[in-house]
Point group: C2
Chain length 412, copies 2
């Protein structure tokens, strides 16, 4: 039933990497997995590695794109203001009881392209509200978590439209394996080195303690204030439960929290944003005192504006991230239509909720502290790409300009 042409050795390596480097799962932890049903071959290997790592209980929750579509095509209108809050309340309870969280992405990024944007917006809003108890354990980095990807067939056909479904899936699998560094027989060692490189960049940025970053490029002239006591992070980091994990596989970024009241200028997206089934392209926005006061998009403008109207914090920034244009994902020249990959091909910013872990001594901070430092709060967190080989970035510290990026690459 689940035969694919995908390299089983690499599926197993990715599963092992997700459990032992991604999550760094500890004996006695439980594990909650969310996954498309199509990724069952990967989930089965993850479950084996999780139990071998000493997990007490592994609970997978599967989704199915046809079931998602059946709702849009058959449900009464009232359905779209509902979400399974009982399930997210339960997940919050699990996370508070030593459960780690693994998410597998792999669905068609354009699954909802023919559905009503109004229904999509309402449904996302209901989901954001309901899933808060589960989501806030992730954004506050309470627990160790990880995301990896499965080469779903429909997704693969979007990325490689010129290939047969089977060949497309094989190609996407190879691209995922390469970006996730599992082509080498010892991916854990590869990730150790990679983590050291990212650490060197974030340490330099932390030593500089910039007040602002100033982005200049085609369609972009944006000054982004950084939050008070902000901390740059990248690669492996320590969650509040004391476990050092690698939340994203792949990951090429170093990132921190901007000041949500101190962003001014205009910025253009450099890659499409694939948001919960819709594609948003050619975004151009204007910020004033941290807030988006004008937003346009060549494609998906309606959906984008629904996103911005999600709540008060949806028009403000919660993350800035630096990624060189020479990153392996950028150099692959593959547009993945998936944030987990595409955000690692370019510098990006995120609308919405900030990561409270991107502050010095974040464990001791209250929500009021984070707010007073300039950290944004929202029920959404949506990354979009603003970097390219044409972007230049300066750091500003007490009116001194220090070059950070030139032509899309690290200066140091």
């Amino acid at each position: 039933m689940y035969n694919t042409k995908i390299d089983e050795t690499k599926i197993d390596r990715l599963a092992n990497l997700a459990v032992n480097t991604g999550l760094s799962l500890k004996p006695g932890q439980d594990l909650l997995i969310t996954s498309p049903v199509e990724a069952l071959p990967l989930v089965r290997r993850i479950v084996v590695h999780a139990y071998r790592a000493g997990a007490n209980l592994v609970t997978p929750l599967f989704s199915d794109p046809e079931i998602t579509l059946a709702r849009y095509e058959n449900a009464p209108d009232t359905s779209f203001d509902k979400a399974a809050s009982w399930l997210y309340n339960g997940m919050g309870e699990a996370f508070d009881n030593n459960t780690a969280r693994l998410a597998i992405v792999g669905d068609d990024p354009m699954l909802l392209e023919h559905q009503d944007p109004g229904k999509i917006g309402r449904s996302n809003k209901a989901l954001s509200n309901a899933s808060k108890p589960a989501r806030e354990r992730i954004t506050t980095f309470t627990i160790n978590w990880n995301i990896v990807a499965w080469p779903g067939k429909a997704w693969a056909c979007r990325v490689f439209p010129e290939l047969s479904a089977e060949e497309a899936q094989k190609s996407l699998a190879e691209a995922i394996f390469a970006a996730s560094r599992v082509n080498n027989a010892n991916p854990h060692e590869m990730w150790k080195k990679h983590n050291e490189n990212l650490k060197q960049k974030s340490s330099w940025l932390n030593s500089m303690d910039f007040d602002f970053l100033h982005y200049k490029g085609p369609g972009t002239d944006l000054k982004v204030g950084l939050a008070k006591n902000h901390e740059w992070m990248g690669g492996a980091s320590k969650s509040q439960n004391g476990i050092t994990c690698n939340p994203n596989i792949p990951s090429e970024e170093v990132f921190t929290t901007p000041h949500c009241l101190k962003v001014d200028g205009h910025v253009s997206s450099t890659k499409p944003l694939s948001h919960q089934g819709s594609l948003i392209e050619g975004i151009r926005v204007e910020f004033k005192e941290g807030k988006i006061i004008n937003a346009k998009a060549d494609k998906g403008e309606k959906v984008f504006n629904k996103v911005l109207d999600s709540d008060e914090g949806a028009r403000r920034l919660g993350e800035v991230a630096l990624v060189p244009d020479s990153s392996p994902i950028s150099q692959s020249n593959i547009l993945f239509y998936n944030t987990l990959f595409d955000e690692n091909a370019a510098c990006h910013i995120a609308l919405g909720q900030c990561y409270s872990k991107c502050f010095k001594n974040f464990e001791s901070l209250t929500n009021d502290d984070i707010k007073s430092f300039g950290g944004n709060s929202s029920m959404i967190h949506i990354d979009w790409m603003i970097g390219s080989k044409d972007i230049n970035i300066d750091g500003i510290k007490e009116n001194n300009l220090i070059p950070v990026f030139r032509n899309g690459e690290w200066v140091n």
Copy 2:
């Protein structure tokens, strides 16, 4: 990925029947489905019919036999005392908020045959404890619920070991469709008539209001006291949320609550009991004052004794059910190795929890009332078959004997 040779029209009819007769799902209800991943083709059609019936939100939870086995083969010993209580707490919350419950069965009945009975017993006990908030909404008939079956390949190969996997699946599918009455183009009408027949039997038994049933047959001489204010039920019945549903598809039984202190004599099983992955055959037990004081089995005796040791109420009866030997399932001569089917081929009894709905005016009863009437309480509820063409049953009312079954058939 999910191509099968199973008749799609009948899959769709079964889905429609499950939603509109089985659950009798009402507009504005939510629906929770549990299912093996293998039954995805049926789940997808159920989701469509549920939304068309006006469901607000349908949430499927999938299980996978390889993932279940991966735990037994790889998890640390501590795992087997754990269960996902957060998930069952969430399900309880959902049921308290107008959610109906649909379960799809279809797994290999002997999935766990090579696993340690000690681990199976501990794991079942942990699951029973954790799932109480979800289970008690079913046993107290708080919500409308339904079970249907999917012809899983591994299950089909147990039932038809002489056929190829594909042919076995096709044969089991046809057996399920026949027993579920979906071979007719209007299964809802078939079920309406069937419900009327079952109603006639239960009404007669209620009018007789027997004190005891006396079973006699090969290896069986058992006197079962019936609970005070017991009510016989069968087919469609009304849940506490006011919805009349058909919990089991198929169903051929009329059933009620025995008095848990008034069962005496000995009884032998007439069909194998397939219990959570293990097969128990040739059960012979002796009751004294309601309690099993001696239990033997030709096969699976260890597992059976673990079941009996689950808790105080596990050695006492929670249900008696009458099914004629001429029932279509009995006449099919197929041994399904699955209670949903096999219990409809023969008279049976159940160890453990009673159904509180099997009392007059059950909506107004407290747990103390039910206990004082003789209703049993336990975290298990396990049916096993004691009927055959050789069984005779008398009803006893104030020392008068009234024939109920002769040679496995209804007298009236």
